[in-house]
Amino acid sequence: MKRATTLAEIKRSLNPKPLKLEELDEFFVETSDVRDPQLSRRDAIYDRLDVEPNAKVLLAGHAGSGKSTELVKFQAEHADRYVFVRLSMIEDGEAGNASVEALLVLIVEAVLREMGARDVRLSEKTLTSIHGWFDETFQVKQEELEYTGSVGGGIDSASGFWGKLLGVTAYLKADIKTGSGLLSKTITRENKRLPQLAHQCGLLIKEAQLALRQGSQELLLILEDLDKVTVGEADDIFIENPAALANLPAKAIFTAPISLFCNPRAAVLDPHFVVETLPMIKVDDQQGKPYKAGRSVIEHILSQRVDLEAAVERRALVLAIEKTGGVLRHLFLVLQQAAAAASQAIRRGKREKERITEADVRYGLNRLKSDLLRRIGVMGLPKEFEGISTDDLYQRLKELVGKPQRVPADNVNLLLLQSHALVEYNGEQWHRVHPLVAEHIEMLTGS
C-alpha cells in the first residue's frame, strides 16, 4: 500500500485501531526491545501458555499501548499450534453490559462460529445436550430466533444442533448488545445458574478441543477490550467471580485494565491467572532524557503508514512523539487532528502546502490535553473511591511531576492511571506523569 502523502490520506491511514492479521506484513513494527529490552511479552505469554494446561493470561496495559496488535502478531506467530477464537467485549458485546455471564455466552457463540468456519465437526450428542440447556433455560421462541437469524446474516437454525445452538447464542448476543436483559434476568446470582452456564460453555470447549486434537492443535481464546470495562465490572469479572473464566477448559488470554492490579485485592487473581503487563514504549528514560531507541521505533511505526518527510515537518514530528509519551493511540489521534487543522488552513487559503506543521501538532496536542485534563476528576465514581477529591488527584500529580518513580498501588494512583494522567513504563515498572498533563501541572505550579 502506498504511504500517505496528502493530508486526507494521513487522516485515513492513522486510524488508531489495532492492526488486523492481513495488515501485519505491511505495518507491523517490532517494539519489544523498546518496551522491555529484557523480555518480549509475546515470548513471555507463549511460555506461560506452554507450561500450564489451560493457563489463563491477563494481559494488562494502558489503553492504546498496543495490546491488541501484539496479540494479532502472537496469533500470526503461533497459528500452527493454536486455533484462535477472538472476541471483543466492545465489538461482540457491549462495554456497559460486561459480565461473566455475557462473556460465557459470547465465548460459546464465538467457538461455534470458528468451528463452523473451519468445518470442524462437533459431536451432535454434545451439541444436542448443550442446546437443550440453552433452549430450556432461556426459552427463546422460534420466531424470535428466525428474526435474529434474518437480521444477523442468515443463521441456518434448521441445520442440525450446531445451527440451532448458534441461533440461540446469537439471539443472546443481540440481547447483550441491546441490554434488553434476558441474560441478566435468567442467570442471576440469586438463582446460582452461573455455574451451569459455565459448565455448558466448558462442554462445548472440550468438544472443540477433542476435534482439534486430531489435527494436533488446540483452542486459544482471546478476549479483548476487557480493559475498557468499568472498574466495577472488571472487579466483578476477575475478583468476585474468577472461577467461571479461570476454569474454562482452554488456554485463554484476556486483556485487562491495569487498574485491576493496583490494589491489594489483586492477590486474589494469583491462583487463577498469570499476569503479563505490556509496557508502554519509552520516549524518555527514567532520568527524563530522550530515549532515542524508543522514539526511533515510534517514527518507524509512523513511517510504515505515512511518508513523514513529505507530509510532516521534522520539528512537528519530534514534538508529537515527545508529548504523547509513547501512547501510540494518542500519537495517531494528535496527528489526525493536526492533519485536519492543516486541511482547514489550506481550505481557508491560509497556506498552500499539504504538510503538517508544528502549530498543527500543537493544536492536536492541546485537544488531547483538554481530554486528558477532563478525566482528572472524581464526579460519578463508584463508592470505593469515596473520600477522594479532585484536589487530591492534583496534589498527587504535583508530587509526581518531573520525578519518574514506582508509585504505590493506592486509589489515587489507580484513578490517575485510569485517566492516563499517569503512565507506566517497562518491565521494572516505573511511572511518570503524562507529558501533556505534566505541562499543565508545571504551569499551575509555575515551575
Partner: protein
C-alpha cells in the same frame, strides 16, 4: 369399571374445573387405569377441552404447547407420562425429567390446566429429578403409588456445593462420551483428569451412580499419579466428591478421606486468606464451612466450632452485600454451629444459634415456602433437642410439634423426601413425652415412628434398619415403664436381631447400642441358659478374672 377413590377423584375434578393455571399429577398404577380415569374426567368436565399431548413430545414442545393453550380459556393439557416408552438409557430418561423441570412456568401459564398422568416410577422421578416442578404439582393418587425414599443430606457442604457443581447429571451421557474420546485421544494425564474425568466423577456421585463412581475413582483417580499432581484447589474439589462417595460406601473410608480433605482445605485456606486482604470472599466462607462440617463429622467438635464461627463471620459480611444470595448460607452455618455447640454441652449458645437460624429461615420461608420450610422444620427439631437438654420441656414440645406439623404437611406432598423426617421427629417427641411422664403418648409416637421406619427399611434396609432398631429399643423402654413386659421383651428382641449383625460388622458404631438393647432385654426377661441374648449379655458383663473387685 375400575373403582376410583371417590374423594381423590372429586378433588381432582374440582381442581381442574376451578383452578386454571394449576398443574396436577395423577398417579396411576398402570396405563389402563390412566385411560379409564381420563375418560371419566372428560365426561365429568364437559365444559373443558382436553388435549392429550403426543407421547413422544419433548419437554420443550410440551412447554410451548402449554403456553399456547394458556392463552385461551378452558383447556386441559394432558401428558400421558404413564404411556411414555422408557427410552433406551436411564440417562436419557433422567434428561427428560430434568428438562421437564424447566417447563414449570409454561405448564402453569395463563389459563391452561396441565395434568400429568404418571405411574409410581414417574412419581419418584418427578420428585427426584424435577424438584422445582414437583413443588408446584397437586397430587392425586389412584391408588397411592409405591414411595421411594432415601436419606436426605440437609445440611452438608455437599448440598451447598451442589450449587457449584459444574453440570447436572442430565449431562452424564455427554460427559461419559467426552471422557471416553479424550482417553482414546491420549491427552496428557493432568488434562484428562481435570477436564474430563473430574466432571464425570462429580456428576456420577451426585446422580448418584455409586458403582460407576467408585470404579472411576479407584481406576482413574485415586490410584493414579494425576491426583497428586493436581494443584491443591483442584484436588479439593475432587476430594469433596470423594467424601460424598465414601458416605455411600463405608465410614472408615469416609473418615480417611474427610481427614485428607480437611488437611488440604486448611492449606488452601491459609493461602486464600493471605491473598484476600480482609475481603469477604465466597470461597473462603465455603472452605471454612466445609472444613467445619468435616471436622464435626470426624468428632473434632471444638475445631469445628471455630471453623463454623469463622465461616459465619464471612457469610454475614457477604449477606450484608447480597442478602438474597447469602442469607440461606448464614442460616445453614448457624444451624450447624448450634449442633456442634450442643454436642459440646454449650446448650445456651446452641439455643441462641438455632433461634437466629430459625428467625432467618422463617423469613425466607415466608417468601419461598417450598424452598425453606424443610429448613425451618429442621432447625425446630434441633432447637427442640437443645430445649429438652436445658429442661425447657414445654418449649421443646412446642418446637417438636411445629416441626412435625411442617414435616407431615410436606410428606403428604412428597412422601419419599419427608417421611424419614416425620419418623425422626416423632421419635424425638416421644422421648420428650417419656421425660414428661406422658407414657401413653410416648408409646403412640414411638409406634407411629416405627411404622414409618419399618416401611422405609423394607425398601432401603441398609439405611433405615438402624433407625428401626433404635425406635424399637425406645419403645421397649416405654412399654417396660408401663408394665407391659412381654411387649417390651419383643421390642428389645427385635432391636437385638438388627443390632447384633451390625455390631459385629461395625463394632465402633453399634457395640454400645447392642449393649443398651441387651440391658433392656435382660431387665424384662428372666435369666435363662437357653436364651442366646442372655448368654451374650452375661458374656459382655462378665468381670475379667484378674480384675479387682
Amino acid at each position: 369399571m375400575i373403582p376410583f377413590d371417590a374423594a381423590e377423584l372429586e378433588g381432582l375434578v374440582d381442581l381442574l374445573r376451578d383452578c386454571p393455571g394449576r398443574i396436577s399429577a395423577v398417579v396411576v398404577p398402570g396405563q389402563e387405569t390412566g385411560t379409564a380415569l381420563l375418560e371419566l374426567l372428560v365426561k365429568a368436565l364437559p365444559e373443558l377441552t382436553f388435549e392429550v399431548m403426543e407421547e413422544s413430545a419433548t419437554p420443550g414442545e410440551i412447554g410451548r404447547r402449554a403456553q399456547e393453550l394458556g392463552s385461551s380459556q378452558g383447556n386441559v393439557l394432558v401428558l400421558r407420562l404413564d404411556r411414555r416408552l422408557r427410552p433406551e438409557s436411564e440417562d436419557h430418561e433422567e434428561g427428560f425429567w430434568r428438562r421437564l423441570n424447566y417447563q414449570r412456568e409454561r405448564l402453569a401459564s395463563g389459563d391452561v390446566r396441565s395434568c400429568l398422568f404418571m405411574d409410581g416410577v414417574g412419581n419418584d422421578r418427578l420428585a427426584l429429578l424435577a424438584d422445582d416442578l414437583y413443588e408446584w404439582v397437586m397430587f392425586f393418587r389412584f391408588p397411592a403409588p409405591a414411595a421411594r425414599s432415601g436419606p436426605r443430606m440437609s445440611e452438608s457442604p455437599l448440598r451447598m456445593s451442589d450449587r457449584l457443581v459444574d453440570g447436572t447429571p442430565a449431562d452424564l451421557d455427554v460427559l461419559r462420551d467426552q471422557w471416553r474420546r479424550a482417553r482414546e485421544a491420549g491427552l496428557p494425564e493432568q488434562e484428562l483428569v481435570w477436564d474430563y474425568t473430574r466432571p464425570l466423577f462429580a456428576a456420577l456421585v451426585r446422580s448418584p451412580r455409586i458403582d460407576e463412581a467408585s470404579r472411576l475413582w479407584k481406576n482413574e483417580l485415586r490410584d493414579g499419579d494425576a491426583l497428586e499432581a493436581l494443584p491443591d484447589e483442584q484436588r479439593l474439589g475432587l476430594l469433596l466428591d470423594a467424601c460424598l462417595l465414601a458416605r455411600y460406601e463405608d465410614r472408615e473410608r469416609f473418615t480417611s478421606r474427610a481427614r485428607e480433605y480437611v488437611a488440604t482445605a486448611e492449606k488452601v485456606l491459609t493461602r486464600e486468606r493471605s491473598r484476600d486482604s480482609g475481603h469477604a470472599s465466597t470461597s473462603i466462607a465455603r472452605s471454612l464451612f466445609n472444613i467445619g462440617y468435616m471436622q464435626s463429622d470426624l468428632g473434632e467438635r471444638e475445631a469445628a466450632q471455630k471453623s463454623y464461627h469463622e465461616a459465619l463471620e464471612v457469610y454475614r459480611r457477604l449477606a450484608a452485600q447480597h442478602p438474597a444470595a447469602f442469607e440461606p448460607d448464614v442460616a445453614t452455618t448457624l444451624n450447624n454451629l448450634g449442633t456442634v455447640q450442643s454436642d459440646l454441652g454449650e446448650r445456651e449458645a446452641a439455643r441462641k444459634s438455632y433461634h437466629e437460624a430459625l428467625e432467618i429461615r422463617r423469613r425466607l420461608a415466608a417468601q419461598h415456602p417450598a424452598a425453606f420450610e424443610p429448613d425451618v422444620a429442621g432447625t425446630l427439631n434441633n432447637l427442640g433437642a437443645v430445649q429438652r437438654g436445658l429442661g425447657e420441656r414445654e418449649a421443646a414440645q412446642k418446637s417438636y410439634h411445629e416441626a412435625l406439623e411442617i414435616y407431615r404437611r410436606l410428606a403428604a406432598q412428597h412422601p419419599a423426601a419427608f417421611e424419614p423426617d416425620v419418623a425422626m421427629t416423632l421419635n424425638n417427641l416421644a422421648i420428650l413425652q417419656r421425660d414428661l411422664g406422658e407414657r401413653e403418648a410416648a408409646q403412640k409416637s414411638f409406634h407411629d415412628s416405627l411404622e414409618i421406619y419399618r416401611r422405609l427399611a423394607a425398601q432401603h434396609p441398609a439405611v433405615f434398619e438402624p433407625n428401626v432398631a433404635g425406635t424399637l429399643n425406645n419403645l421397649g423402654t416405654v412399654q417396660r415403664d408401663l408394665g407391659e413386659r412381654e411387649a417390651a421383651r419383643e421390642c428389645y428382641a427385635d432391636a437385638l436381631g438388627i443390632y447384633a449383625p451390625l455390631a459385629e460388622k461395625y463394632p465402633r458404631a453399634f457395640a454400645h447400642k447392642l449393649e443398651m438393647a441387651l440391658r433392656g432385654y435382660a431387665s424384662v426377661t428372666p435369666e435363662s441358659e437357653d436364651d442366646p441374648w442372655w448368654r451374650l449379655w452375661r458374656e459382655l458383663t462378665r468381670q475379667p478374672e484378674d480384675a479387682p473387685t
